[in-house]
Structures are given as structure tokens and as C-alpha cells.
């Protein structure tokens, strides 16, 4: 029987995985939910937009151009399914939907390169219109040439905070402030790992310097308190500075995020083994250095398994394809594998440094007021989760979910899951890995009511 290979995701990891399979003479199916290839960092604007790659991708324009062009060259050699969401797994194969048409895609092996979303820490007022994830703030600009407001505050932590603020400034919208929960001392602790990629550190420093020069207040070691506003929008954010003083910044929008969260649901449905990764303080599927999971014929690559950034995603995509080929006794030059592993180890050190420099502020979850909405789908509050933890004695997040519904809504805990686990763990007085992780269930994303099964 002919091989049926599927690559899920057409970002840097999925593109390079598909390319390597094609080079071996195979013809994979490539599925991506977006109408256009590119993934997150190299997300493309609609076809009738005119901005050049330099304007969209800055220092990464050349890589973006290459990734897009290489994918276009692959098109005749792959079965590309854009605008198609994988939402489940059945005996016969993957379940996918495009519009309201459901298809089943059988496979003999699969490479999942599903990327990541922002990691979110809820705060009082974050459901007011005008509060967006940092990634959303960037997507508005990159894919729609819009900004989320005229004077936004960017609050959270991580390198994306400064990149997005800088991109806004360049687009003519000066941020009201950049508020980072990581202190300068904490950042220094990550610097050693980060120096494995001095160029990237230099870029980051350059963004910060440009922002400071333009008069954008940059604050480190802050504690977010709340977003203030009315039904029709944001009016400001309240926060505490590093010395504990209460501060308020007027703004009309907020972009917030604390690094990334791997999108791992599909691996979960395919029954891959997971482990808690203390480095990134989240659960993720276990993989060998080349992307093999605990399940035969299931491979993972990119930010959907290890949050190592875009360049690593390209290398990991290619490496996962090499692993798949080797497992099928298709020859791969040992040099290729050694080279890819080597470049990944540098990128891995860098990612470890970043995670140290801009840590997930888990303690903020414990301090959320009881009436703060944690799950935005179903308006489950921090108090509800604490009630599940104590009065209802739920030791574990899925139990809490069954009782009080955090993570039960349409997004399946993509936005609230990690914070909800922190609230639960704090209320139980246990480390967060002891409360488990929200189990994934099909449909991974809501299906239209009028679904038809394709013939």
C-alpha cells in the first residue's frame, strides 16, 4: 500500500517537514487552518495587500521570503489543504473540516507542527473590549494593517512584548507603556543562555533602546493589577512598580501575553505520552531529539512541542521528516541529522535562556481576586476554581473542570488552562504539575452546526 503521510501545520516547521518528504520522493498531504501558508511569525497578509516583506517581518524578511517561496515551489508536489482545521481523530484517520464539509484523512504516518498560542495570565478587566493577546496585537498589524488602539499598553513578559511595541511604534502608533513582570535582575539570569544567539539579543536591545528614545515608558519587575474601562473600551491599566508603588497608565487598548503555550491537543488525541516540562512550566508531549513521540508513526516538530522559536521550528521540521524517513528505511545521510541536531542544541540553549529571563509569573494566579474571570468562554472565576479546590475537594484540574467548568468552554482551555491550573495548585498548596493538565477532546475546535460529510 502507498504511504499516506500527513503534515499538520504549514508554518516554518510544517513547511520544512513537507519539503524534506518531497525531497525523498513522497507526496504528503499538508493541512493548515489558515487560508495562507506561513504560520505565525511568517503569517502572510491577504493577496490584495501591498506592504513588502521588509515592512512585515523586519530583520526576518529574508527568512520569510525564503519560506514562502520554497512552499510555493512545493505546491505541485504536495496535496495542500488550506483553510482546513483538524478537529479530531477516528479509527480511519484524521477528522478535518473546511467550511462545513467534514473529511476523514487516513494516514500511515503524521508530522504535527501545530505551533503555539500566547500564554495568558488573566487579570481583572481582561474581558473588556480592547484587551487582546500580544499575538493578536501583532496579527492585527501584520495581517490586517490595523492596530488594536491608538495608545496601547503592552503588558506581560517575553521578547514579543518589545517586538510588538516596536512594530506598533514603527507603524505610527506609540505605545503608552511597556510593562514587564520580569525584573532586570531576573533577565540577567537568563542572559548566559541567550548569548548563544548574540544577534537576536542585540535585536531585542535595539528595540528597547528605540522605544526608550521615543519616550515610551519601559518598566521592569511590575505587578499587573487590573484593566480599567467601560463596556465600550479600555481607559487604563493599574499596576505596581518594582518598588511596590501603585501606578496607573491611561491607554485605550492592552496587548498581553507571557511567552507561549504549545498547541498540543492533537498529540493528546493521538495518545502521545506527556510530561511536565519545568523549563517552560507546562505539560508537553515527550519526544526524542528528532521528534519521535511515544506513538509509532506520530512525529512532532516546532513550537507545538518545544518552544524554541522560528529558526528551531524550521530545523525541527526537517529533522522530524528525517526521522520518519529513517523509520521507513529510507536512507538519510547521517551528516544531515547530525547537523540539524547540532543547530537545534544552540537554539535550545537560547530558548532555555529566554525562559529564565522572562519567567511565567505563576504567583500572579494565586493573587487573583476571587471575582476575576479566568475562563473567558464561560465566565468561570478564580473564586469558582478555589471553590472546586477546597469546598469540593478537587485535587486535579479535570475534576475541577467537571465541577466548575474552567476550560469547559469552546476554546477548551487554550486561553485559561495554564492559569486555571495555577489557581487550583495554589489553592491546594501543591506544585502545579501535581494538578495535571486539561485533557483534550474532539472537536478540538467548534464545528459548524450544518456539517456535511464529504463523499
Amino acid at each position: 500500500m502507498a504511504e499516506s503521510l500527513i503534515v499538520v501545520g504549514a508554518g516554518p516547521a510544517g513547511t520544512r517537514a513537507a519539503e524534506r518528504l518531497v525531497q525523498a520522493g513522497l507526496r504528503p498531504v499538508v493541512i493548515d487552518e489558515n487560508e495562507r501558508q506561513g504560520g505565525q511569525i511568517y503569517r502572510r497578509q491577504p493577496e490584495n495587500f501591498n506592504r513588502p516583506p521588509e515592512k512585515l517581518y523586519g530583520t526576518e524578511a529574508a527568512r520569510a521570503r525564503a519560506l514562502h517561496a520554497d512552499f510555493e515551489a512545493l505546491r505541485p508536489h504536495i496535496d495542500y489543504r488550506p483553510g482546513t482545521t483538524v478537529w479530531g481523530v477516528a479509527e480511519e484517520g484524521l477528522l478535518a473540516v473546511r467550511g462545513s464539509t467534514v473529511t476523514t484523512l487516513p494516514f500511515s504516518a503524521i508530522i504535527i507542527a501545530s505551533g503555539a498560542t500566547d500564554r495568558i495570565m488573566p487579570l481583572p478587566g481582561w474581558t473588556i473590549p480592547g484587551v487582546y493577546s500580544l499575538g493578536a496585537s501583532q496579527i492585527a498589524l501584520k495581517a490586517q494593517a490595523c492596530t488594536i488602539g491608538g495608545a496601547p499598553v503592552f503588558m506581560g513578559t517575553g521578547p514579543l512584548l518589545y517586538l510588538v511595541a516596536w512594530q506598533y511604534m514603527r507603524a505610527g502608533v506609540k505605545p503608552a507603556a511597556v510593562l514587564d513582570t520580569s525584573s532586570l535582575a531576573t533577565r540577567l539570569r537568563g542572559l548566559r543562555g541567550m548569548m548563544s544567539r548574540a544577534r537576536v539579543v542585540a535585536n531585542g536591545v535595539h528595540y528597547m533602546a528605540d522605544l526608550a528614545r521615543a519616550g515610551v515608558p519601559l518598566h521592569a519587575g511590575i505587578t499587573p493589577l487590573r484593566v480599567e474601562g467601560r463596556e465600550d473600551g479600555v481607559t487604563g491599566v493599574a499596576w505596581q512598580d518594582a518598588r511596590g508603588r501603585l501606578r496607573r497608565t491611561a491607554c485605550d487598548a492592552v496587548g498581553t501575553g507571557y511567552g507561549l503555550r504549545a498547541e498540543t491537543q492533537l498529540a493528546d488525541l493521538l495518545k502521545c505520552m506527556f510530561a511536565f516540562d519545568p523549563r517552560f512550566t507546562q505539560w508537553r508531549p515527550q519526544v526524542d531529539p528528532d521528534g519521535r513521540t511515544s506513538q509509532p508513526d506520530v512525529y512532532l516538530a516546532g513550537d507545538g512541542v518545544l518552544l524554541r522559536g522560528a529558526d528551531a521550528a524550521e530545523a525541527a521540521g526537517r529533522l522530524a521528516a528525517c526521522a520518519l524517513l529513517q523509520d521507513r528505511r529510507i536512507a538519510v545521510a547521517p551528516d544531515e541529522i547530525v547537523g540539524l541536531r547540532k543547530s537545534l542544541s544552540t537554539l535550545d540553549r537560547f530558548a532555555g535562556g529566554l525562559a529564565k529571563a522572562f519567567p511565567w509569573p505563576a504567583h500572579l494566579a494565586a493573587a487573583l481576586p476571587d471575582d476575576t474571570v479566568v475562563c473567558r468562554c464561560e465566565n468561570v472565576t478564580a473564586g469558582d476554581i478555589r471553590h472546586a479546590a477546597t469546598a469540593l475537594d478537587s485535587p486535579e484540574i479535570n475534576r475541577a473542570k467537571a465541577l466548575m467548568r474552567p476550560g469547559m468552554g469552546r476554546c477548551q482551555g487554550r486561553m485559561c488552562g495554564l492559569a486555571a491550573a495555577e489557581v487550583l495548585a495554589a489553592a491546594r498548596g501543591v506544585p502545579v504539575d501535581k494538578v495535571g493538565r486539561i485533557r483534550s477532546a474532539a472537536p478540538l475546535k467548534p464545528l459548524p452546526l450544518d456539517c456535511r460529510i464529504a463523499p
Partner: protein, 99 residues
């Protein structure tokens, strides 16, 4: 209060006109429904649980906080649906379509 989103570039595109809750709004070809509504106003929908306005959150198809409906009851995720001329959108679910 001005609209939530601001256009900062790519404003020379072909105009598209759609109907939202019975009112005409102007958008540009290539806009998502989310962009179209938020460059004209400051909400997309109301949360089913507290009735308060929502305007999306992640813009990448993950948070599911931007679902809207067509007048005929079809559900659309505003951040990943492109506008078309004469689209007829409602920001509240039409109750009789969902017994």
C-alpha cells in the same frame, strides 16, 4: 468613543459594504469580519453568560471569542472569515434557528 481598531496602512483597497444588525457598514476587501466590525465600532458580540460586550481576543482562531452569525443562522469566526459584499451579519444568535 472612536472605533476600537485603527487602520495604519493598506487603505487603498476596494471598498466592501456589508450589513450588520440591519445597518450598512463599510469595510475593505481583504478585511476579516473582525476588522470590519472593529474599525466601525467597539464590540463583536455579547458573552452568553454575562451579556457583556466582547471584541475577540487572540485573532488566531484559538480563543473562540469572536463568533458571529449570518442572518440565516450560519456561524462564522470573525477573525478568520473574510468579508464579502452584501454579507448580512447579526451579532446576536437568532433564537428561533436554534431550537
Amino acid at each position: 468613543m472612536p472605533a476600537l481598531f485603527r487602520r495604519v496602512d493598506e487603505t487603498g483597497r476596494r471598498p466592501v459594504r456589508l450589513i450588520v444588525d440591519g445597518h450598512e457598514i463599510d469595510a475593505l476587501e481583504g478585511d476579516t469580519l473582525l476588522t470590519a466590525l472593529l474599525t466601525n465600532g467597539h464590540r463583536l458580540r455579547r458573552n452568553e453568560f454575562d451579556g457583556k460586550p466582547r471584541a475577540g481576543f487572540c485573532l488566531m482562531g484559538a480563543c473562540q471569542d469572536c463568533w458571529l452569525w449570518t442572518e440565516t443562522g450560519e456561524e462564522l469566526r470573525a477573525c478568520s472569515t473574510e468579508v464579502r459584499d452584501d454579507m448580512r451579519i447579526v451579532t446576536q444568535e437568532v433564537p428561533w434557528l436554534n431550537p
